[in-house]
């Protein structure tokens, strides 16, 4: 059953098998075509680990994130989360699963209502669940604001008043409000400044060690992928073309696509000719 089978005693937290997602290509004339955004993707993630999904734009990374967060319905395949098949269970059961898988986007500005205060943004998911009192929600919001490095003074601010880094921290805090098992970060660092990227990356490492968080880190930054992840899967044209321990992918890339991705990473060390002469 367990696909990777690294640890035979342990079931993976998230097990994906042969996932396919096709979109119809809209054309006015001509034959109907379909785009295979995901073309048979299989992998598993174990509790407390980070898997990085790397690949160029258009390789299907974000479609994968959407399918895993139950925001898109895959055309076929199996997504097994905590040993439940997420594609077979009904909407009612899905509602108990959704809080456990949280998605963080590249541009957090677009995922907040700019006229809402930080406190409202943070407590909305809990209010929807309706299990906690207002005081309990406030306490949790305060604790999380502090944990992600925003002070609780922030709770009265509007989302539009925050800087990019603060918004991304808020997005992480909101995702954590529901105490998820899996955090999916879809290019969540790409739009941030280098110094803020480092802060958020550290926050993720801390969360992982303190909460045993499982992360799916989608990126095109191979250096950050290698820094954060235990394993890296490289995607191209809807397929995983290479998957292995971060170290190995970096040192012995097996496919041309991985080598290209690595070669395209700008490096700080001076003197190395890196910009191709065209």
């Amino acid at each position: 059953m367990s696909a990777a089978g690294q640890d035979k005693n342990m079931q993976p937290l998230l097990d994906v098998k042969n996932l396919v997602k096709t979109y119809p290509r809209k054309r006015l004339t001509g034959p109907r075509e379909e785009v295979r955004a995901l073309d048979g993707v299989s992998f598993s993630i174990f509790r407390g680990t980070t898997l990085a999904i790397a690949g160029e734009s258009g390789s299907g990374k974000s479609t994968l994130a959407f399918c895993l967060a139950c925001l898109e319905k895959p055309t076929s395949g199996i997504i097994r989360f905590e040993e439940k098949d997420m594609l077979q269970i009904g909407e009612k059961d899905l509602r108990t699963v959704r809080p456990k898988v949280q998605l963080i986007f590249q541009d957090p500005a677009g995922s907040f209502n700019p006229r809402w205060k930080v406190f409202e943004i943070l407590t909305e998911p809990l209010a929807l669940q309706g299990n906690l009192s207002r005081d309990e929600m406030r306490a949790r919001a305060h604790a999380l604001l502090e944990q992600v490095g925003l002070s609780s003074i922030m709770e009265g601010k509007l989302a539009s008043e925050l800087s990019g880094g603060q918004r991304q921290r808020l997005a992480i805090a909101r995702a954590l409000m529901l105490e998820p098992k899996v955090l999916i970060l879809d290019e969540a660092l790409s739009a941030l400044d280098c110094s803020v990227q480092a802060q958020i990356a550290n926050l993720l490492v801390e969360l992982q060690s303190s909460r045993g968080m499982t992360c799916l880190f989608i990126t095109h930054d191979m250096a950050m992928a290698a820094h954060l992840a235990d394993e890296i899967a490289v995607m191209s044209k809807g397929r995983i073309v290479e998957h292995g321990p971060a170290d190995k992918i970096l040192k012995q890339p097996q496919t041309g696509i991985t080598r290209e991705l690595l070669a395209a990473m700008p490096r700080l060390d001076f003197g190395r000719p890196q910009v191709p002469e065209s």
């Binding site: 400044d193 110094s195 990356a201 991705l261 700008p266 700080l268």
Partner: protein
């Protein structure tokens, strides 16, 4: 060589709705030498985009030029008549923005969008315009030139759209091209490709460029000199090799250290990056002292109250830090 553009003590502020002034640029001076690529490195809020628009006086309505001058061709661009400025924009100095998808007209073929710029500056009769547009497309797209010129923006990839913006920027053979984060929205492979285009143009046409970015790694091997902006001030300015290899400002140093490297040692344990603590927004508050002081690992008493001026470390390397004054 020679100075082609000079920015002198530029101070630009934004007026908030409450009427308060927030300074985005707090006194910036530098010279741009003919034929060089000046890399401007700064985080959000450092004033780098304000700098880009200041050079062409493309200010937002709520911005106020407190002081300073942008000297180009013997004129101060902050003072010249609007009509004179219009003749300079896009012709002598052109600007490339970050987002190629919003910078192009969605329902006009891109060839025409490039040709319009020539037309606006009266660069010849229609045959000449068509020929010049064709030349530029050929230089940027090679064999695909004609097909691309006939395409609409939505039919092009991000990298191709960015090349169209570059075509617009260079079609009038400007003396200076200012590029504000031109590769930020592209994936790494395309990013490298566009950098390659810039480099080829710079070599081929002797283009003078200001390349604004938040990613230090992009500048290595590309920029001739690097200007580090922090909190609306110049933190460091020097030859790229010196700034990248032995940065002299604590901010530059800390920034470079916080970036994960592909070559970092790995032993299975997850590392904490040496991040710069706290928020860069601290620097934008109107405050006395060095803008980096609240986050600086090497701060001293004097940093709180006084702002360090730029100190010449060598002929080609300046940094604004009291640490360097003592040496």
């Amino acid at each position: 060589m020679g100075t082609i553009l000079e920015v002198r003590d530029l101070q630009v502020a934004y007026r908030s709705r409450g009427g308060d002034l927030f300074r985005a640029l707090a006194g910036i001076s530098f010279c741009l030498e003919s034929g060089e690529v000046l890399g401007v490195l700064g985080e959000s809020g450092s004033g780098k985009s304000t700098l880009a628009v200041s050079l062409l006086r493309l200010f937002r309505r709520n911005s106020v030029v407190v002081s300073g001058a942008v000297l180009f061709d013997g004129r101060d661009l902050l003072k010249v008549e609007p009509s004179e400025l219009q003749a300079i924009r896009g012709k002598s100095i052109s600007l490339i923005f970050q987002e190629p998808s919003v910078a192009l007209h969605p329902t006009m073929r891109v060839g025409r969008q490039v040709r319009q710029i020539l037309d606006a500056h009266g660069m010849g009769n229609s045959d000449q315009l068509v020929r010049r547009t064709g030349e530029v497309f050929e230089a940027l797209f090679g064999e695909e030139a004609e097909r691309i010129a006939r395409s609409y923006p939505h039919q092009l990839s991000g990298g191709q759209r960015q090349r169209v913006l570059i075509a617009q920027a260079i079609v009038c053979r400007p003396s200076v091209v200012v590029a504000d984060e031109p590769t930020a929205s592209l994936d790494p492979t395309t990013q490298m490709e566009i950098l390659g285009v810039f480099r080829a143009l710079q070599k081929g046409l002797g283009l003078t460029m200001i390349f604004i970015t938040h990613s230090p790694a992009l500048l290595s091997g590309f920029a001739d000199r690097i200007l580090i902006l922090y909190g609306g001030r110049v933190a460091e300015l020097g030859v790229a090799s010196e700034v990248l290899v032995s940065p002299k400002h604590p901010y530059t140093h800390a920034l470079f250290r916080s970036i994960p490297s592909l070559d970092e040692p790995r032993d299975g344990r997850k590392r904490i990056l040496p991040a710069i603590p706290r928020d860069s927004n601290l620097s934008s508050l109107p405050r006395a002292g060095c803008p980096f002081e609240p986050r600086c690992p090497e701060r001293m008493d004097i940093c709180k109250s006084e702002n360090p001026g730029l100190v010449n470390l060598s002929e080609s390397h300046l940094a604004s830090c009291f640490r360097n004054e003592n040496q």
